[in-house]
Amino acid sequence: MPNIATETSPASGRKFANGAALTAAGLVAAGLFAPKAARAVSPALTFADIPGADADTKVLNYALALEDLEANLYVQALQRLGTGGTNALGITIPGLGIASSEIDVAYLTKFAPVEAAHRDFLKSALGANAITTLKPARYNFGIETLDRRGVLDLVLEAEATGVQAYLGAIPSFGTKTYVPTAAAIQGTEARHTSILTIVRNILYNLTTPVAPLKGDVPNAPTYDTNNPNVGTPEGRDQVLTPNQVLARVSPFIIFGASA
């Protein structure tokens, strides 16, 4: 278990790893949004909440939910790093004014449309079967309070979680029909995870491995903040079940009326 509890960064409350413990009440207490604003989904979503008339549709909708969140995170992250903006909850995101030539901004700019394309592809493929449960959902990442590194950390965690989420969902498919397509997206997330790890290593003089090493901790129970690429003894990527992933991301998902 990463020592989240001992972290002093203001960003620590929004770590993906801390998701399950982060209740809507906690978010309000942390002042992340006005009391009359909508609340984070609680209790956390589970795979049973994901709609789909058959197993394949259910997994694709699960993927769509994650891609929608990820694509929106990129939008908000680039607003925060750049010239600012306002998210769908009406929260003002002041820009940090980081130059677009800086490598974190440059790679987030490169990857943002890829995540949007994943979302749009899944939405289009699902057509009328696409998940609507999350349609009114908006995302609160608390990004307006994160510093430059906090933004990169959060996006990196999202990508690393995405890699493990796709792997963990494969056995939930009903057939093999969509497995290659899902895997083709998952490999892309793996590339993003490695590149953002390199970017973070360069900017902050860190030494996080860019891919699972031979001998990484097997079955790590939670996300390892220090190594988003934690693997297995055989140097393979780790797996997270849909319920593990949904518990992590639910605190970012806000339902209800506008602020």
């Binding site: 592809f121 793996a190 590339r191 490695s194 891919a211 031979k214 001998g215 055989e234 140097g235 393979r236």
Partner: protein, 278 residues
């Protein structure tokens, strides 16, 4: 810039701690890889199914008593190749004889003073050397994992060994060149796994194969970053040494960098054997 010494220390201390765990756990994990997918492990005589999708150019079939074992032997064929060429590349970058085996202790490897960085900066050269070392052990671990899973049915290495697709068959004499010669192996590996995954009959088995596949994608992207290239996924026509054209998982028009590409197994086998088999 990254502190190469610190990365190395972290890597080695962790590895020392985990080597025993790894040795103890590998057999169990690998046994689970094939659990529940039938098989005839206790039979002395193995009847290969001879899938025409998995055939070497000399018409030899990739062995396996069922399609899952054929696919895993296909993967093993590539992992043996990758592990051996990484071993040679690491030796070259470390100033050791190419034929030297992979040392059990990664600490013996250091970039040779006579091996320059090529057309990349010293910081990127140092990181590139580190990746070469880390990935060499990971590819060997993938190979050993598949061998353990396949047991008696595991395919054997090419008896004549492997060479790089260079004029003299050697990996190169500077870090950028060596990484550039490794890259087509990784990018072909990504495409090979994706092109074969659908032939596995069990979703859990596909999941396990995918945990290796995405590692190859990470390796590819990381090497491309070091070399100043687009970290992909991108068409094989942009990556010298990878068979062309590669295939898309969707017929929809897609923007660049959105989906991994794949290759059919026979395409991979033909290209790999002609380029890398001695």
């Amino acid at each position: 810039m990254m502190d190469i010494e610190q990365i190395a220390r972290d890597e080695f201390s962790r590895r020392a701690f985990l080597t025993r765990m790894s040795a103890a756990g590998l057999g169990v994990a690998a046994a689970g890889l094939l659990a529940g997918c039938g098989g005839s492990g206790s039979n002395n005589k193995i009847n290969n199914i001879n899938s025409t999708r998995y055939q070497l150019p000399n018409r030899t079939f990739i062995p396996g008593s069922d399609i899952n074992k054929v696919v895993l032997n296909f993967a093993l064929t590539l992992e043996i190749l990758e592990a051996d060429l990484y071993r040679q590349a690491l030796n070259a970058a470390s100033g050791r004889a190419l034929g030297t085996g992979l040392d059990a202790n990664p600490a013996v490897y250091n970039q040779s003073p006579s091996v320059g960085n090529g057309n990349i900066s010293s910081g990127f050269g140092a990181a590139g050397y580190l990746y070469l070392k880390q990935f060499a052990y990971v590819e060997a671990a993938h190979r050993d994992f598949l061998i353990a899973a396949l047991g008696a049915e595991a395919t054997k290495a090419n008896p004549n060994g492997y060479k790089f697709a260079t004029s003299d068959g050697t990996p190169g004499t500077d870090i950028a060149t060596i990484l550039g010669n490794i890259l087509p192996l990784e990018e072909t590996g990504v495409r090979a796994y994706l092109g074969a995954a659908g032939d596995l009959t069990d979703l859990t088995l596909i999941q396990t194969a995918a945990t290796i596949y995405s590692t190859e994608a990470r390796h590819s992207a990381s090497i491309e970053y070091i070399l100043g290239q687009d970290p992909g996924p991108r068409p094989s026509s942009q990556i010298p040494g990878v068979p062309t054209p590669d295939k898309e998982v969707t017929t929809a028009a897609v923007a660049p960098n959105v989906f991994e590409k794949y290759l059919d197994p026979n395409t991979v086998l033909a290209a790999a054997t002609s380029a890398f088999f001695k």
